[in-house]
Amino acid sequence: MINIEIDGKLVETERGSTVMDAARKAGVHIPHFCYHKKLSIAANCRMCLVEVEKAPKPLPACATPAAEGMKVKTHSEMAVKAQKGVMEFLLINHPLDCPICDQGGECMLQDVAMGYGGAASRYTEEKREVRPKDIGALISTQEMTRCIQCTRCVRFGQEVADLMELGMAFRTEHAEIMSFVNSTVDSELSGNMIDLCPVGALTSKPFRYTARNWELSRRRSVSPHDGLGSNLAVHIKNNKVLRVTPVENEDINECWISDKDRFSYEGLNSAERLTKPMLKQDGKWQEVEWQAALEYVANGLRQVAKGAGADQVAALATPHSTMEELYLLQKLMRGIGSDNVDFRLRQSDFSADGKLAGAPWLGMSVAELNSRDRFLIVGSFLRKDHPLLAQRIRQAVKKGAQANIVHSSDDNLLMKVANKAIVAPSDMVGLLAQILKALAAEMQASAQGVENIVVGSEAAAIAKSLASGERAAVLLGNFAQQHPQAAQIAVLAEKIAALCGVKFGYLGEAANSVGGYLAGAVPGAKGMNATQMLASPRKAYVLLNVEPELDCADPQQAMAAMQAADLVVAMSAFKHHAADYADVLLPIAPFTETSGTFVNTEGRAQSFKGAVKPLGEARPAWKVLRVLGNLLDVAGFDYDTSEAVRDEAVDTANILSSLDNHLDVALQGVAGAGAQGLQRVADVPIYAADALVRRATALQQTRDAATPCVAMRGDELQKLGVKSGDMVKVSQGNASVRLTACADDGLPAGVARVAAGHAATAELGAMFGTITVERA
């Protein structure tokens, strides 16, 4: 630590930190544009010039290392003169269009110009103009003329998104921020550039010209999408959500959010919103009052439970539902005598049920990911499934951590991968067994159950990497959790982690993947899990936020069960295909219109309030379930607030004690499963993962939302007589769809990658299993 003096204040700061760091610590504001605490130092805007005693000229605070005894003056005559001079230069080419600028009111340049700008400009020559370029559906560069070349967006791409899509071409007064030859910006974190832009050069395309900054109220919320639980500020005007920005939380999302978190709000205002309860009478949908709809549901459930038995009633919910909703749903089901409730809709292996020591979670805090020195990431479409967790892992890798990947697809992870084993889904268990055996040899320990395994070079390299680390993490992604041998994968992963004494965790699929367990929304010993409920069709289903053809592990099976059921109650914020098979549609409130709690993947319970009133007659699902509980005479449904539900469901201060990744499952024979035929590898595309994001129009225009194609190895496509770009017929179970073929040599042999969760593939069967591809 060293001591420096800023404007007469003594500050203690770390050796190696800058004058800017010290000033922030002392609470002294130094005007700046290009400086950002999360980005590298560029020192190109020169706005932060300050006077340093004994220095002959003003120095940029952001790039000047603090030295012992340094005396800095930020408001001396010299400093202010320099700052005003810089400001005058910055304004030379900046258009005077603040009145129509989207950034007006939250613009750093505007703010600093108030303090340091002149009342009039001395510049009378022509200002420069920069032609706008189309860089995609999310970010507008329409007013690139406003750019002051701070290069924050470029550095963000290089250092945080790790995908340099924007750059500064040309130089001097011709310098322009642009993408390479009109290519789009496709990073899943790109929206952060809008926040970073200190002026109105990069603006949000969906938000543009819908409101002025000072007309918006900001309400805090929590992302309902991935397992991270990013903290959000929901901006509203006239009871409508108009945009979403991050709320800084260093432990979770830092100061970033993914594009999914940022732009999914468009789904809230979608025309597909369900705003009135609806009943199907004589095959026709009719809008009814809540009372009538709820009584119909209560009667229907009561009849099925009485007539056919309570176990004929089943409830399915998505893990994007709040803890309160999940808790009340399971309480309701158990209240009427059914144990059939589940939220793990894409999971296909439930053999660990009843053998879990606690709720599966990340196994560490999110922030701890940054300090890992070895990773073994099993079965994860990391970047698309967990955009910001992936970002943390990339930061760790940049600091020297080794990433080891076991997966069925060799996606570009934008980081240096030390070792990877890309194998077909059926070989994944075998591969992990190899790693376990190799690791046992490295650690001179014994591993039971894998004696007969032959260790390949990839597994040996991964084991070696893990053994050489001190703070490793073994992480299971969505693909591993959805795998038909998920329990075996988890057992092996746990053993691998235990052998080298490191952390073992699950990358939570959705906002409430941990919370669902805590809420008890999983079947007990006599109940049916998500797969069983659909495999042996029940007479009545209650769906909470579920679109079965998109959210379930086996859409074919799910839809067959829905079609066959006597009563389907769809609680949904949107009108969806339930219209075809449901009997009642109950409009429920999405996350901005209800209070609730998400427990993120690190076990952090984050409660939030509704930001706006529910649209139309939609109501928070916890209230709907409360009324249903009362109508069905289930005891203990007299809650006044969602907080009361939460407090009954879980002790939020003491969640960690309920989390445990240990599973008491025996390792089975891990010899090759000997799968036959072509195996399906199904990712859930980033903008198809939940009902809300599927209706976010701008996100749906991005490249990540493009209609999925069938990806196979080039040589295997050739064998089928198919070229990249041809239409092929893809069949699974009793249905087939036509999709475009594309060659991907990063896939293992014998595998076809066909995304799930998308309308184009919704007629197909299970996410794992055999699939046939033939010439169309």
Binding site: M164, E165, G167
Partner: protein, 159 residues
């Protein structure tokens, strides 16, 4: 794809740098492309980027930053006249005017037959010989009086 010849040249260049810092060879690689083709197209930038494992935009930044990379065809013989201070004081503008009238093109243009291109250059570090011009960025011609310009063109016309 970069031509085999360029690939060989880039490979030789890469030996000068650590294996994990291939981007150090970007300026050389762009130079090789320009030597072969006379200019650098967007596709060439993409090829260089892919070959060196760099983001395409990063190559574009370099190619657009440096004046001596041509972003459009500049003819078989590109004449670059220095118009910085020393050369201008010694008559560079007259040199430019004479070449322009001789070729019938303006600064930054190429003759219709694609033989000559004329562009403005920055200081070439040969002020004592002002005014100077370069041929294809390789050869400096000093003290360019009208007679000397005629001589240079007589040589070039032959080739």
């Amino acid at each position: 794809m970069l031509s085999e010849q360029i690939q060989a040249q880039v490979d030789r260049e890469l030996k000068k740098y650590p294996a994990d810092q291939k981007q150090s060879a970007v300026m050389a690689a762009l130079r090789f492309v320009q030597d072969e083709k006379g200019w650098i197209s967007n596709d060439d930038m993409a090829d260089v980027a892919d070959y060196l494992g760099m983001p395409r935009m990063a190559v574009c930044e370099v190619a657009t930053f440096y004046h001596m990379y041509n972003l459009k065809p500049m003819g078989k013989h590109m004449i670059t006249v220095c118009t910085n201070l020393s050369c201008t004081l010694c008559g560079a503008l007259d040199t430019v005017a004479y070449i322009e009238s001789k070729l019938g093109i303006k600064m930054g243009e190429v003759t219709a037959d694609g033989k000559y291109g004329l562009r403005e250059g920055e200081c070439m570090g040969a002020c004592k010989d002002a005014p100077v011009l370069t041929l294809n960025n390789k050869k400096i011609c000093a003290r360019m009086s009208k007679e000397k310009i005629d001589k240079v063109f007589a040589e070039l016309d032959k080739s």
